[in-house]
């Protein structure tokens, strides 16, 4: 029969690890945004599922982002701290990916 204990361990491990990685990356994005470095990544190709803006509209959005940046209530020091925190989050995410690669390659851990 099915090994329920093993299954529960798998489910718990998957839940905990993906929750941690996703939270950290989200937190990193949040801190970047707070620090005024709003990451804007344009989609590589138009797809139906995503927002596509006309040039005029995009310029308006960019202006809004600039304004939001200027209106940032944080001091320079706080911004730097937030930025550092964001980078720290991303670093941990990179380590998580490397750990994933380590788990995939049996030569590294057996």
């Amino acid at each position: 029969m099915i090994d329920w204990a093993a299954f529960l361990v798998v489910a718990a491990a998957a839940l905990v690890s993906s929750a941690i990685v996703v939270s950290l990356y989200s937190l990193g994005l949040r801190l970047l945004t707070t620090a005024g470095r709003i990451p804007t990544v344009d989609p590589a190709e138009f797809t139906g599922a995503i927002t596509v803006l006309s040039p005029a509209r995009a310029a308006k959005e960019a202006k809004k982002a600039r304004k939001a940046r200027k209106a940032n209530p944080l001091t320079a020091g706080q911004k730097r701290l937030a930025l550092l925190g964001g980078y720290a989050c991303f670093t941990i995410c990179v380590l998580a990916v490397l750990y994933g690669v380590y788990l995939i390659i049996p030569a590294l851990h057996s």
Binding site: L15, S18, Y25, R30, T33, V41
Partner: protein, 396 residues
């Protein structure tokens, strides 16, 4: 060493199966980054192909244990013959092509097991199949894996949105999830390479051992590893665009944060399961996480009709490929003429399926044709909860 004709045929068929496995499973890793525009379609399948190629060389652990248990072979048990493997592979390939034509992400390994089981039942007898192992290792995981990973992806998506949520009108930087998607989907592709090419290697090695060309208990030879790696990489690069379309758009609309949450859940679940010795199907895990992330975002809809079709496809995979494998095995029992008939019928069926696929071609260059490319849309920053009466409509 000189190969008998049947061994050569099995190796050729195994490589064809490996190819279909590759293009069937491109969607698992790359449907979500393509859907959110994190990568261009051709770039995405190119990366997936390279990672599958690399992955196939990294590990041969799975190859050593393939089919072990499900079909009782060797030492006192019933010896599986190359003819049976041949028949099983035909069943698996035909089923893979049928599901591809319907755009259904179905598990290639289940098709392979189904084909082998069907062929073994006809060729040797039902007592040669360990049905309790089939239930425990194939059927039950197929039911619980998508649900489990769906819950994981749901929670991950909720977290991603909750943490990046800001006041209305302020930029939230969620486009940044596109960078992360490149890495999370690559991780899925790499782990796929270390798993799925191995199954074909295992089949070829099993045939070589059964045919007496290789010592019992030895691992796959280098040329076998190299051929399988190439076959799955070429298959992946060809890209099963129909299945990518289903996974990337058919189930739910995917946005970068969702895509990242879904891929991370897929990668985490597959890594945890293969590491803790509880094998789960990549395809089922990936589909489950896409549905989970669709449920996790406010204002998104999951197309349950499509999800139901996919689930039906999963249920049918094992019996359908078993029936086709059994049919092929029945013919193969007639001797060389039967084998010839098998090859002939198989070729005709594959040809018909390909002709059929030409009628509504789906490929990387027309993947988004359904969209009005000049259409300029702006999605509200904080979408309202979609009223029930509008749920079925596709938001543009």
């Amino acid at each position: 060493m000189d190969f008998s004709l049947i061994v050569a045929l099995v190796i050729a068929l195994a490589l064809i199966f490996d190819f279909t496995n590759g293009f069937h499973d491109t969607a698992n890793a790359m449907a979500t980054p393509i859907a959110t525009g994190a990568m261009k379609p051709k770039v995405a399948v190119g990366i997936a192909a390279i990672l599958n190629l690399v992955g196939a060389f990294l590990s041969t652990e799975v190859a050593r244990t393939v089919s072990g248990g499900i079909i009782k072979e060797g030492d006192g048990g019933i010896q599986i013959t190359p003819e049976m493997i041949f028949a099983g592979l035909i069943g698996a390939i035909v089923w893979n092509l049928i599901t591809w034509l319907r755009g259904l992400p179905s598990s290639s390994s289940h098709a392979l097991f189904g084909g082998l089981i069907g062929a073994t039942v006809i060729g040797v007898g039902a007592q040669a199949v360990a049905f309790d192992v089939v239930v425990a290792k194939v059927i039950l995981p197929a039911l619980i894996a998508p649900v489990t990973v769906g819950i994981v992806a749901f929670i991950a998506t909720r977290l991603a949105y909750a943490i990046t949520r800001r006041e209305q009108g302020k930029p939230d930087g969620r486009g940044g999830f596109r960078y992360a998607q490149i890495f999370s989907s690559s991780l899925v592709a790499l782990s796929h390479g270390t798993n799925d090419a191995q199954k074909t290697m295992g089949v070829i090695t099993l045939t070589l051992i059964a045919g007496g060309y290789q010592a019992v208990g030895s691992g796959p030879q280098f040329w076998v590893v190299a051929c399988c790696a190439l076959a799955i990489a070429i298959g992946t690069y060809t890209g099963g665009w129909r299945i990518i379309l289903t996974m990337g758009r058919g189930l739910t609309e995917i946005k970068p944060a969702q895509g990242f949450a879904a891929e991370t859940s897929t990668a985490a679940t597959i890594l945890a399961s293969s590491h803790l010795g509880f094998a789960l199907s990549t395809t089922q895990v990936a589909s489950g996480s896409v549905i989970g992330s669709g449920l996790g975002r406010r204002g998104s809809t999951v197309r349950w009709g499509m999800a139901g079709q996919i689930a039906l496809g999963w249920l049918l995979t094992l019996p359908a490929s078993a029936i086709m494998g059994a049919f092929a095995a029945g013919l193969a029992l007639l001797g060389p003429i039967g084998i010839f008939l098998d090859v002939l019928i198989g070729t005709i069926v594959v040809y018909i399926l390909f002709r059929w696929s030409k009628r509504d071609r789906v490929s990387h260059d027309n993947l988004h044709d359904i969209d009005d490319a000049g259409h300029v849309v702006k999605i509200k920053k904080t979408p309202r909860k979609t009223p029930r009466k509008d749920r079925e409509k596709v938001e543009l």
